[in-house]
């Protein structure tokens, strides 16, 4: 079913999700996408050798031609797996891998462990949800008596309205009738990166015109955190999109060269469009 162009022939597929995995066809791999991810993740297949565009193209083609053959589960599974592949590949394509210091490497593991913990926890809650269904089905086999006190019993009605004035009633009505204010989302748990793409775009626009031809490695040499390198990469892409810089590469997977080609002192406002990268 899966013909894999690698040395290894017996590889257990990754059972991340239930259901049939969408098949993908690329020059070096043909088979379920979860197997592709598994091979890449376990280094049995170099992600750099797998062009991702055909993976997406073939899936989109199937979606166009025979949408009924791809159930919703398979579609979401594909999206998840494709996202994982893109993430892996983009990480590998980022420069500066060799000189990462140990702290950052540790931070990377830490991040991964957090993600793993989150995945495990979610998995556990999904299983708990099934247990809830079982519990409630069992509980539903018993019906509670809810008949209440017989009318024959005299119930004294104490004055619960003691102390309630018409004004307080009006205020209670306003409280009740008020549109529920949507509580603001608490972002306090989110670590806000100190540097954003738009800030970096502005910083680069200030320094690049005078810098001449610089390599991306030089440009990011002073940076310590991976996230800053990524932000710089995105900022360069943004400037490239705006036509302010030209990005070249002497050889495949060689260092990126960045040359400023825009006007010398761009107005900062012109670059405001990159704000959406924030966060």
């Amino acid at each position: 079913m899966a013909s894999v162009v690698t040395s290894s022939s017996q590889v257990a597929p990754l059972h991340v999700l239930a259901g049939p995995a969408p098949l993908v066809v690329t020059p070096v791999f043909e088979g379920p996408i979860d197997l592709l991810v598994h091979l890449v993740a376990s280094h049995q297949l170099d992600v750099l050798e797998v062009p991702l565009a055909p993976v997406v193209d073939s899936f989109v083609q199937v979606l166009r031609e025979r949408p009924e053959t791809v159930p919703l589960d398979a579609r979401s599974q594909f999206l998840l797996m494709a996202a994982v592949l893109v993430e892996i590949k983009s990480q590998r394509l980022l420069p500066g891998r060799d000189d990462v210091d140990e702290d950052e490497e540790l931070g990377c593991w830490e991040e991964r462990d957090l993600l793993l913990a989150r995945l495990l926890e979610c998995r556990a809650y999904a299983a708990v949800a099934d247990a809830f269904v079982a519990l409630s089905e069992r509980a539903a086999r018993s019906v509670a008596r809810e008949v209440g006190v017989d009318d024959g019993f005299v119930v004294d009605a104490p004055d619960l309205l003691c102390g309630v004035t018409p004004d307080r009633l009006a205020q209670a009505y306003l409280r009740a009738a008020a549109e529920r204010v949507v509580p603001r989302v608490d972002l306090s748990h989110v670590t806000v990166d100190t540097v954003t793409v738009s800030e970096t775009v502005r910083a680069l626009a200030a320094t690049l015109p005078a810098a001449g031809r610089v390599s991306f490695r030089e440009l990011t040499a002073h940076l310590s955190a991976r996230i800053e390198v990524i932000v710089h990469f995105l900022a360069v892409l943004e400037l490239c999109k705006l036509g302010k810089v030209v990005v070249g590469q002497a050889e495949r997977f060689g260092d990126l060269e960045v040359v400023w080609v825009g006007e010398a002192y761009p107005v900062a406002e012109a670059l405001v469009g990159s704000d959406e990268y924030e966060g």
């Binding site: 017989d150 009006a170 205020q171 009740a176």
Partner: protein
């Protein structure tokens, strides 16, 4: 069906029935002759009496139902009259206010406005005599529409509903709007009362 099974089925059905259950209905549910069901009910009622249970299986209005043993009326009365709190909760007060200003109003409309099920609160207000069903809405299910009672007016010292204060008088000024979100703090939290009435833009 054995005698034991029949008795158990009767116990279960009568336990959850709100109205007295006729022997005919019990017979239908158990798929047994009415006579057999009736004699099972009588035996069951007798056994409760012998065991001096706190409840009896009574034959009322042509059917069977559980009711408390007359001996235990003092406890039941105390239970029925227990005062969980001497004041209306803020949820109950808000519901009462909705009924007062929007009457006639259905429970579903109240629930839609408050964002939570209102059945329990409406039942409480009804039990206490502050609201009463005043009619039924047109449309599916013909839900009961509620209005306030004379007792409600009396307790608030009002002569009639037109004396309810206009809510516009209590709309917050622009300067207070900024503090509205703070008003979402649960009632009773420190400071909740401060800014001239908690939230509410009125629409």
């Amino acid at each position: 069906m054995t005698d034991d099974e029949l008795v158990r089925a009767i116990e279960a059905v009568v336990m959850v029935a709100v109205e007295p259950v006729t022997p005919g209905l019990l017979a239908e549910l158990a798929e047994e002759p009415v006579e057999r069901v009736e004699s099972a009910c009588e035996r069951l009622a007798a056994s409760y009496r012998e065991e001096a249970r706190g409840f009896v299986l009574a034959r009322v209005a042509g059917g069977y139902r559980y009711q408390t043993h007359p001996d235990l009326a003092p406890y039941v009365e105390r239970f029925a009259n227990r005062d969980v709190s001497h004041r209306l909760s803020s949820a109950a007060l808000e519901t009462l206010a909705i009924v007062a200003y929007r009457q006639p109003v259905s429970r579903a409309q109240i629930a839609a406005l408050r964002g939570v099920n209102a059945d329990g609160v409406v039942r409480l207000l009804e039990q206490r005599g502050y609201v009463v069903g005043v009619g039924r809405a047109q449309g599916p299910g013909q839900p009961v529409l509620y209005g306030t009672t004379d007792l409600f007016l009396e307790r608030l010292g009002l002569d009639n509903l037109s004396q309810l204060p206009p809510v516009e008088d209590f709309l917050p000024g622009v300067d207070v709007v900024a503090e509205l979100e703070d008003g979402l703090r649960p009632a009773g939290a420190p400071g909740a009362q401060g800014a001239g009435g908690p939230d509410g833009t009125g629409d």
